[in-house]
C-alpha cells in the first residue's frame, strides 16, 4: 500500500480508472472470510470485559425508527429513551444517536437538544435510492436544514451493479457537499451487492468519494448486517487509513438484536481495525430492539438476576 494519496485523487477521473482501481483491490475469498468471522464469533467475553463491552455497545447505538407509521410522538418517546435508556439506572450511558426520516428531524433535534445525542437522518430516497440526483440532494439539504448532525445516504445499487462506478462516486460526492458539516454515512446495502468482492469495492468507492462512515444496510433488505460483511468493511477502513491517513467509521445496521451479537461485532472491530475504532465516533450499531437486550444484560451483570421484559421500556 505505497501509492500516494495524490494518485487516489486521479482514480475518480473516469469510469475506466475507477474500474481499474476497484478491480485491482485484492479479492475476498468467501469461505475464508466466513470462517474468520465465525472464529472471532467464538470469543468468550465475560465478567469485567462483558460489562465494559455492554456499556460501549450502548454508547454506540444509533437508535432507529424508520417506519411509514412514525409520528412526532413516537420520535419524542424514542429520543427520551436515547438520552436515558434505563430509567432505573442513571449510570447507563446514553446512545450515540437517534436515526429518523428527514421530515421528523426537527422533532428529534428538539427532543435531544443539549444532551449530546446526535440526530441522524436517512436521506437520498431511502431505502431504494431510486430517484434523481436533484431530489437526493434536496432530500439531504432538507434534513440538514432541519438540524441533522449525520446523514445516512444510500448508494445507487443499480448503477454499482451495472459497473457505472463514476455515477455512484459522483452522487456520494454531491450528497457529501450538500451535507456540509453533517457527517456522511454511506449505506452500501450489502444484501443487494451480493458478493464480498463487491462489498470491498463499494467500501473503497464510498471512502474515495468522501464518506465519513460506511454502513452495511438499510434494514429493509435481507440479509442486513452480517459478521463477514462487517469484517470486510473493517478491513477496508483499516487499509484505507494505512494508505491515506484518513479514518473512516463503520456501521453495521439491521438484524443485530442481542447483546451477544453486539459483543461479537465489538470483537470484530477490536481484532480487525483495532482499538482506535472502539469509539462511538468510529463505530456504530444501527438497531432498535438491541438496546433493551443490552440493558437487560447490563442489569443482570450488576444484580445477578434477569428482570422481565416489562422492566425495560418499549419506546
Amino acid at each position: 500500500m505505497s501509492i500516494l494519496t495524490t494518485s487516489l485523487a486521479e482514480v475518480a477521473s473516469s469510469d475506466a480508472t475507477l474500474r481499474a482501481f476497484l478491480h485491482g483491490l485484492p479479492g475476498v475469498d468467501r469461505v475464508g472470510a466466513d470462517q474468520r468471522a465465525a472464529v472471532l464469533g467464538t470469543r468468550s467475553i465475560k465478567t469485567t470485559a462483558k460489562a465494559q463491552a455492554i456499556d460501549l455497545a450502548i454508547s454506540m447505538v444509533d437508535l432507529t425508527t424508520l417506519e411509514g407509521a412514525d409520528t412526532p410522538g413516537k420520535v419524542r418517546a424514542m429520543c427520551a429513551k436515547a438520552v436515558h435508556p434505563d430509567p432505573s439506572d442513571p449510570s447507563a450511558p446514553r446512545v450515540a444517536a437517534v436515526c429518523v426520516y428527514p421530515d421528523l428531524v426537527a422533532e428529534a433535534a428538539a427532543a435531544v437538544a443539549g444532551t449530546g445525542v446526535k440526530v441522524a437522518s436517512v436521506a437520498t430516497a431511502f431505502p431504494s435510492g431510486r430517484t434523481s440526483l436533484e431530489v437526493k440532494v434536496a432530500d439531504t439539504a432538507l434534513a440538514v436544514a432541519a438540524g441533522a448532525d449525520e446523514i445516512d445516504m444510500v448508494i445507487d445499487r443499480g448503477a454499482f451493479l451495472s459497473g457505472r462506478y463514476l455515477k455512484v462516486y459522483e452522487e456520494i460526492a454531491a450528497v457529501k457537499a450538500a451535507a456540509g458539516e453533517a457527517h456522511l454515512k454511506v449505506i452500501l446495502e450489502t444484501g443487494e451487492l451480493a458478493t464480498y468482492d463487491n462489498v470491498r469495492r463499494a467500501s473503497w468507492l464510498a471512502m474515495l468519494a468522501g464518506a465519513d462512515f460506511i454502513k452495511t444496510s438499510t434494514g429493509k433488505v435481507s440479509p442486513a448486517a452480517t459478521l463477514p460483511v462487517t469484517l470486510i468493511m473493517l478491513e477496508a477502513v483499516r487499509d484505507f487509513r494505512a494508505r491515506t491517513g484518513r479514518m473512516v467509521g463503520v456501521k453495521p445496521a439491521g438484524g443485530i438484536r442481542t447483546a451477544k451479537d453486539a459483543i461479537k461485532y465489538l470483537v470484530l472491530v477490536n481484532e480487525t481495525a483495532g482499538e482506535d475504532w472502539l469509539d462511538p465516533a468510529w463505530f456504530r450499531l444501527g438497531a432498535s430492539s438491541l438496546l433493551n437486550d443490552l440493558l437487560m444484560q447490563r442489569q443482570k451483570l450488576a444484580t445477578g438476576r434477569y428482570a422481565g421484559p416489562d422492566y425495560f421500556t418499549l419506546d
Binding site: 500500500m1 485484492p26 479479492g27 475476498v28 475469498d29 469461505v31 475464508g32 472470510a33 470462517q35 474468520r36 472464529v39 467464538t42 470469543r43 468468550s44 467475553i45 465475560k46 465478567t47 469485567t48 470485559a49 462483558k50 465494559q52 463491552a53 460501549l56 470486510i232 478491513e235 465489538l266 470483537v267 477490536n270 481484532e271 482499538e275 472502539l278 469509539d279
Partner: protein, 475 residues
C-alpha cells in the same frame, strides 16, 4: 478504547482424572509390567496422572486378546459392526466437552481447537467409517474384501484422540481388531476412549490400548502375530519401522513428517491468505505434520503480505490453553521445546531474520512465541528440517515454475497450499506439486471423506475416505 478480554477458562471439573491408569487389555484395565510413568500438563508442568507402562509380555497379552476377538468381530455382519461404531461416535459427541478439556490438559492445545476442531473431527471419523462397515463390497476392492487381522497402531501426541480415530475407525469398520499405543506424553484421551469402548459394549479384545514409550511401540509393531502396522510420527522412527518390518509380510502405512510450502501469489485474496498462513503454521502450536511451515510468497507482494501478517500476529493470544480466548497454547513437552529452540537458534545463526510479536510468556510450562523468519534461503536448516513448532520460514519466488520448484525441493511431500484467485493456476500447480494434499485458498482443512497421506519421506498409504479402507483390507 481498549477492550481487555477477561479470563474465560473452561471448567476443569467436567473431567475426572484418576490418580493412576492401567492398560486396557481384553476389555479390562490391568496393571502393566513396566515402570509406570507420569503424564504432565505442559501448561504448568504439574503431573496429571500416573500411567502404566506395557512391557513385551503385556503387549503379547494385548495381541492375543485382539487375535481372539478377531474371530468374533470379523464374523459379524458389517451392519452389526456399524452399530458399535455409530454408538461410539454418539458417545464421543455426548462426552465431547469432557474429552476436549482432557485433551487440552494433557496436550497443551487451546480449548478452542480441541473443542471446535479435534472433537468434531473425531466423531465425524467414527460416523464416516461406521457408514462404510456394511458397504465394503462397493468400495472398489472386490466383491467380498477381507480384513487383515490384528492391527498394531502407534500414534503421536499432536492430535492424540483424532489420530486414534483415524486409526481405529477404519480398522474396526473393515473387521480388524487393534492394539493401539498412544504417545507417551498424551495417553489420557486414549484411556478415556477405552472407557467409551466399555460404555458402548464393544466386545472385549476388539480394542486394546497399551501405554508406554518407544519400547512399547516397538513391541507392538514387531509382534509376530500383528498383521498390519499403522504409524504416525517422525520420519526417523518411521524409517526404523519400515526396516524392521521388511520381509515380514506385515502390511504397513506410515504418515510421517512434512515441510509444506504455502504458496501465495500476487493475485491472492490477501486477508484470507494471511489467515491461511496463520492457520497453516500457528494452529496447534505448529505441531502439525502437514503444517505450512514454508511460506513461499511472490516477491512483488512480499512486503505488503509480511506487514499484514505481522499485524495479524500481534492479535494472537498466547496463554492458558483452557482459556476459551487462547489462540496459542503450550508446547507439548520440554523435549519438543528444546528441539524448537535449537532449530530457531540455528536459523538465526545461518543469517535469517527472526521476528516475534510482543507477547508475555507464562512463567511455568513449555512455551514458544509465534516466530517468523524472513530472508530464509533454501539452504538454511529452517527451510529443510521439520521444526514441528510455531516457526514460519519465509521465502520468495518470481514465477509459478520457480514456486513449484522450491515447493518440491524437499525430502518431504505431505501437503501444500496455493493462494490465487486464478482457478487455472490452482489446477496447474496441483498437477505439479508432489504432495499428498494440496489446499487451494485454505489450509489445514480436514474431512473424514478426504484421503490424507504423503509422498517421499512423508510416508505412504492413505488415511481417510474410501482410500483409507485399503490399508485395512486384504487387497
Amino acid at each position: 478504547m481498549r477492550l481487555e478480554y477477561a479470563p474465560a477458562p473452561e471448567s476443569r471439573d467436567v473431567v475426572e482424572i484418576k490418580p493412576s491408569y492401567g492398560l486396557f487389555i481384553n476389555g479390562e484395565f490391568v496393571e502393566g509390567g513396566g515402570t509406570p510413568f507420569k503424564t504432565v500438563n505442559p501448561a504448568d508442568e504439574q503431573a496429571l496422572a500416573e500411567v502404566a507402562c506395557a512391557d513385551e509380555a503385556d503387549v503379547d497379552r494385548a495381541v492375543q486378546a485382539a487375535r481372539k476377538a478377531f474371530g468374533v468381530w470379523s464374523a459379524l455382519p458389517g451392519a452389526e459392526r456399524a452399530k458399535y461404531l455409530f454408538r461410539i461416535a454418539r458417545i464421543i459427541q455426548e462426552r465431547a466437552r469432557e474429552l476436549a478439556v482432557l485433551e487440552t490438559l494433557d496436550n497443551g492445545k487451546p480449548i478452542r481447537e480441541s473443542r471446535d476442531v479435534d472433537l468434531p473431527l473425531v466423531a465425524a471419523h467414527f460416523f464416516y467409517y461406521a457408514g462404510w462397515a456394511d458397504k465394503l463390497e462397493y468400495a472398489g476392492f472386490g466383491p467380498a474384501p477381507r480384513p487383515l487381522g490384528v492391527a498394531g497402531q502407534v500414534i503421536p501426541w499432536n492430535f492424540p484422540l483424532l489420530m486414534l480415530a483415524w486409526k481405529i475407525a477404519p480398522a474396526l469398520a473393515c473387521g480388524n481388531t487393534v492394539v493401539l499405543k498412544p504417545a507417551e506424553t498424551t495417553p489420557l484421551t486414549a484411556l478415556a476412549f477405552a472407557d467409551i469402548c466399555v460404555q458402548a459394549g464393544l466386545p472385549a479384545g476388539v480394542v486394546n490400548i497399551v501405554t508406554g514409550a518407544g519400547e512399547t511401540g516397538a513391541a507392538v509393531v514387531n509382534h509376530a502375530d500383528v498383521n498390519k502396522v499403522a504409524f504416525t510420527g517422525s520420519t526417523e522412527v518411521g524409517r526404523l519401522i519400515a526396516r524392521s518390518l521388511a520381509g515380514t509380510g506385515k502390511k504397513l502405512t506410515l504418515e510421517l513428517g512434512g515441510k509444506a510450502a504455502n504458496i501465495v501469489f500476487e493475485d491472492a485474496p490477501l486477508d484470507q491468505a494471511v489467515e491461511g498462513i496463520v492457520n497453516g503454521i500457528f494452529f496447534n502450536q505448529g505441531h502439525v505434520c502437514c503444517a505450512g511451515s514454508r511460506l513461499l510468497v511472490q516477491e512483488s507482494i512480499r512486503d505488503e503480505l509480511l506487514d499484514a501478517l505481522k499485524r495479524r500476529l500481534g492479535t494472537l493470544r498466547l496463554g492458558d490453553p483452557l482459556d476459551k480466548n487462547t489462540d496459542i497454547g503450550a508446547i507439548n513437552s520440554a523435549a519438543q521445546l528444546a528441539k524448537i529452540r535449537e532449530l530457531a537458534d540455528a536459523g538465526e545463526r545461518e543469517g535469517a531474520e527472526r521476528w516475534s510479536p510482543a507477547c508475555a510468556i507464562p512463567e511455568r510450562g513449555y512455551w514458544f512465541p509465534p516466530t517468523v523468519f524472513t530472508g530464509v534461503a533454501q539452504s538454511h536448516r529452517i527451510a529443510r528440517e521439520e521444526i514441528f513448532g510455531p516457526v514460519l520460514s519465509v521465502l520468495t519466488f518470481r514465477t509459478p515454475a520457480e514456486a513449484v520448484e522450491k515447493a518440491n525441493n524437499t525430502p518431504y511431500g505431505l501437503s501444500a497450499g496455493v493462494w490465487t484467485e486464478k482457478g487455472s493456476r490452482i489446477l496447474w500447480l496441483a498437477d505439479r506439486l508432489r504432495a499428498g494434499v494440496v489446499w487451494a485458498n485454505t489450509f489445514n482443512r480436514f474431512d473424514p471423506a478426504s484421503p490424507f497421506g504423503g509422498y517421499k519421506e512423508s510416508g505412504y498409504g492413505r488415511e481417510g475416505g474410501r482410500h483409507g479402507l485399503e490399508a485395512y483390507l486384504d487387497v
